[in-house]
Symmetry: C2
Amino acid sequence: MTKYRVAVHIVPRKGLLDPQGKAVAGALHTLGYANVADVHVGRHLVIETSAADANAAEAAVKEMCTRLLANPVTEDYEIAAVQPA
Amino acid sequence: MTKYRVAVHIVPRKGLLDPQGKAVAGALHTLGYANVADVHVGRHLVIETSAADANAAEAAVKEMCTRLLANPVTEDYEIAAVQPA
């Protein structure tokens, strides 16, 4: 078994209202960043887990996302990186 | 001016307690993922902004992180990607 660091992005599904993103965009406009068109706020998780190989680590984390980490109704997830820890 | 999508990771500073990460790790262990050693939970932001070029877009977002988005005491930030929107 090898230890892997798997980075996951969990973001609001496109088309759904992103209140956090709107709030951050508003605050940035207030600070003078008028060029900011939109902001999307999601979660960045780094999971350190042992697995037989990189594919097994990725598959396990995908299962974790489906079962626990990402809300299937309002969120999408993507595996950003799989690296040996 | 060109529109850019800048992805930013804002993560708890190493060495500081990450209660969210501990909670997620505990939940994953409860679900049977005993191989999970550690979990770090941060924020993933995608900022759509117009700028003269990619460097200017990156510089503006770094300034936004320093002034507003990242807590200078407890968080670190990294620019994950700068892409034309």
